[in-house]
Point group: C2
Chain length 110, copies 2
DNA sequence: TGTGTATATACACGTTTGGATATGCTGGGC
DNA sequence: GCCCAGCATATCCAAACGTGTATATACACA
């Protein structure tokens, strides 16, 4: 699992994940979304694939990549354990329901 | 924010976060919890501190470190965005209530 | 079959990283 | 004031990393 942390440490790879969140994309489309050359993107995609973060599907001469969310969920579970105090479980539930965009609740204010 | 991803890419630093989750710890205690020498731990603690992940408090000749959860929460928010599909919001809520240990629900099965 | 396009791999290079060892600094007890 | 414990900083080193350029491979289409 720690593998995923290292893989997402790179900003370009995080960007790829963000773009793939919108759905299946070809390498060319992904190249257009980042700041490096195509071979670099292919290499990052290989790393993402080896970490189980993407799947590939050939379509003609294109290779269509899509996001695999399972490893992200495991990483999210780790974050959830340590991002919050053990107490205040109801408050966390409220945050989850409100979503990330919600204003901080009273309990989160300094 | 991407700083935090890079900082937590290192397994030793993640271990330190896990240990600090139990509460304030001195450097000596932290050294006992990991597999490297004291200078290495001090360096990791500096990196964690610069990323805002820990705070320090002097107590005699000891330095007591504790966890700052705010950056972890921001990182968790990123994870939450991409670890889940946009649809199926109610299902995610159920997962959250059940916690990570819960059996996968029907909706998660292939 | 030949040519262009889409993607992957090879190679070389500079930079960053994490570790060990050695040393410096500070505060407490005698 | 001395000495020891706790911790930080300096230095060196090997390994890993990310990038660009060049090249290879695979498929499409005429």
């Amino acid at each position: 699992m720690g593998e995923v942390f290292a893989v997402l440490a790179d900003p370009t790879r995080r960007r790829l994940v963000e773009v793939l969140h919108d759905g299946e994309q070809s390498v060319t489309e992904l190249v257009a979304a980042v700041a490096i050359q195509q071979p670099g993107v292919s290499r990052h995609l290989r790393i993402l694939h080896e970490a189980g973060l993407v799947t590939v599907r050939a379509s003609g001469q294109r290779r269509l990549y899509s996001l695999r969310r399972q490893p992200l969920r495991e990483m999210e579970a780790w974050m959830r354990r340590y991002a919050h105090d053990e107490r205040d479980r109801l408050g966390r539930l409220a945050d989850f329901v409100d979503g990330p965009a919600a204003k901080p609740s009273a309990r989160n204010r300094k």
